[in-house]
């Protein structure tokens, strides 16, 4: 364990109690994150990736495990004790419209973050709002607008500006581009990259879009039914995917081919993600796994290292 880790997550689990049944949203996830890095979390719906993001921010309380931020264990902090820390840990939401009050102008929304933390005088805050808007590529006049007047892409820039207004160190990007059009997605990704460089930000980037996660992340974890099935540096993971699920995910992406000859055959795998209420015995992926053997149906594979920083939870991986 290196001491300069900004964030350490140890064996964190989250179970929700829904109608008397346990829903295993996140199961024993561990990772650590150094300053300036981007940690990518990929998975399909129901994989627990968004829940994990909220656990890190303590917007949800972990059922088990420890979360250590800058050497300080924040797992048991109360919401009140967390408040000053929230300046340093921010989140960008998938749907910026839903995350803003329809009755606040954009300027008010961004300023409110600073008001909460009693930053600066009114004039200083207004000046900062102008600067932030400019930094995220919006004209200043936007501060007078209400959320319903802006497009999805503009609103997401506002969401980014609001998160940045507190000078955070860690920013969790929860599917920040999934609701946007392709041409706008690229603009926002580029913005996120520039901001990371300029402000030395650390990102946890949550997305179902593997290509974007690969593009942005240093380390990537693939989640399936709340568990990390594979974790490796981005280049390694995408050039040498080892877990059958990672391989399937990568093969399922329809790339634009260079010519008719390169078109992909549509070869789906069977089945869908099982219910998290009653995850399969043994390896959670075995009912869909093309390679599954008897052992996969009975014994749950432990996570083990198959290379430097490359961990896989699969009996067959080498």
């Amino acid at each position: 364990m290196s001491s300069e880790a900004l964030l350490e997550v140890h064996e964190v689990s989250k179970r929700f109690r829904v109608q008397g049944r346990d829903l295993h949203a996140v199961e024993k996830v561990s990772f650590q994150l150094e300053r300036g890095q981007t940690f990518g979390l990929v998975g399909e719906s129901g994989s627990g990736k968004s829940t994990l993001g909220r656990l890190v921010l303590k917007l949800l309380e972990a059922t088990e495990g420890r979360i250590v931020y800058q050497g300080k264990d924040i797992t048991r902090l109360t919401q009140k004790q967390m408040r000053p820390l929230r300046q340093e840990m921010q989140i960008i939401f998938q749907d910026p419209m839903a995350s803003m009050s329809p009755r606040m102008t954009i300027g008010m929304a961004i300023e409110d973050a600073m008001v909460i933390h009693k930053m600066g005088t009114k004039e200083e805050r207004h000046k900062k709002v102008d600067e932030l808007l400019e930094r995220v590529g919006l004209p200043r006049e936007v501060k007078w607008a209400y959320p319903h007047e802006l497009s999805g892409g503009q609103l997401q820039r506002v969401g980014i500006a609001r998160a940045l207004s507190l000078n955070p160190k860690l920013v969790i990007c929860d599917e920040p581009i999934s609701a946007l059009d392709v041409s706008i997605q690229v603009q926002v990704i580029q913005l996120l990259r520039e901001l990371q460089r300029d402000y030395d930000l650390t990102y946890i980037f949550i997305s179902h879009n593997l290509a974007v996660v690969e593009y942005l992340s240093d380390v990537v974890a693939v989640l399936y039914l709340g568990e990390v099935v594979e974790q490796a540096p981005a280049e390694e993971l995408f050039s040498r995917p080892t877990h059958p699920y990672t391989q399937v995910l990568i093969q399922s992406i329809l790339k634009m081919p260079g010519s008719m000859e390169e078109r992909q055959a549509l070869t789906p795998i069977q089945g869908e993600i099982p219910s998290p209420f009653n995850p399969p015995k043994g390896c959670p992926f075995h009912p869909r796994c093309p390679l599954a053997v008897d052992r996969c149906r009975t014994t749950k594979p432990e996570r083990r290292n198959i290379g430097p920083n490359h961990a896989v939870a699969c009996h067959l991986a080498t």
Partner: protein, 328 residues
């Protein structure tokens, strides 16, 4: 490819939004041949769904068709009454939507909904409809059709619901299937399953498919021919091969460059600047000019017409040839 099954000519659709009129579709013409798979690609607000949906009479209350024709088997769909359209929709033309939860009836067993599709159009007898429903459920890859027949939509996953929607759309053996973003709400592994299912059914039934999508990956891997829409106008039409090799509209080229794919890690991004306009005035110049790196004086003053620059390759750009030369 034979004669066109559906041919849309100079379609114009507008919507009222407050005091403004939004010109959603501005003179769109294209046709779908028998047995063809056509991809209609565009970003939100490009008019990609409105074009096809208004042609088959599915248009929101604040919208109206200003002009145009939609010839389907010799009849102009735009001239038909709602009743006559209902006879065609679901019978000759099947429709699959993005979100099956909103188009399925939540309080009706899914088997009954599939049967209903056949009985409403007097497609077959009650007894036959039942048999066919089981057969359809089986073909759609829904396990244990007999048991699942009696389930309600909420008892299925998103992917399974989409399969049920497809079963309803295919129940009366339509000649044309319109799929409006059929996989957008689904996970990638399920998207692959649904697309494979659509492809298999299309081959088996030899029907035409029009798939509306924002995803170039889906369109290029699935379709024979691709239409790119922007601001309610066709920017480019080409068969997929030509589209992949030599797209000639700066918008298409820009979109292609801005797609992030696996293996792009080290590459710099090339986003298209700006955002798509909402057209509240009839366009008199190229709608894309303000975002276009190739835009010249002419582009800002004269509306480019769709013109054929190669066999079956149509582009609405004054500078298509130069763009093409740059790309190659």
């Amino acid at each position: 490819m034979s004669q066109p099954l559906l041919s849309i000519e100079d379609l114009r659709v507008e919507f009222d939004r407050g005091e403004d009129t939004v010109y959603a579709v501005n003179g769109v013409s294209f046709s779908i041949a028998e047995g063809e798979t056509l991809g209609i690609v565009g970003e939100s607000g490009s008019g990609k769904s409105v074009t096809l949906m208004s042609a088959i009479g599915l248009i929101r209350e604040n919208g109206r068709i200003r002009s145009g024709r939609a010839m389907f088997q010799g009849t102009d769909l735009l001239k038909l009454s709602e009743r006559q359209l209902e006879d065609i929709r679901g019978r000759e033309i099947g429709v699959v939507f993005q979100d099956p939860m909103t188009s399925l009836n939540p309080v009706m067993r899914i088997g009954d909904q599939i049967m209903e599709a056949m009985l409403a159009h007097h497609f077959c007898s009650h007894r036959e409809a039942f048999e066919r429903t089981l057969q359809l459920l089986h073909e759609m890859g829904i396990p244990e059709p007999k048991a699942r027949f009696r389930n309600y939509p909420h008892e299925f996953s998103g992917g399974m619901r989409q399969r049920i929607m497809i079963a309803i759309a295919l129940a009366c053996e339509p000649q044309l299937l319109i799929a409006d973003e059929p996989t957008t709400a689904l996970d990638v592994t399920v998207q692959m399953q649904i697309l494979a299912l659509l492809q298999e059914q299309r081959r088996k039934r030899n029907m035409s498919v029009a798939i509306i999508t924002h995803d170039f990956g889906v369109a290029t891997n699935f379709c024979d021919r691709i239409i790119v829409l922007y601001a309610g106008q066709i920017m480019e039409v080409a068969d997929t091969g030509t589209f992949l090799r030599e797209s000639a509209h700066p918008y298409t080229v820009g979109l292609k460059h801005s797609i992030i794919e696996i293996g792009h890690r080290a590459r710099p991004l090339q986003p298209i600047p700006g955002m798509a306009p909402t057209i509240t005035e009839m366009p008199h110049s190229c709608s894309f000019a303000s975002r276009c790196p190739f835009a010249a004086e002419r582009c800002r003053s004269e509306l480019p017409q769709l013109r054929e620059i190669g066999s079956g390759h149509w582009v609405a750009c004054h500078r298509a040839e130069e763009v093409l030369a740059d790309v190659i």
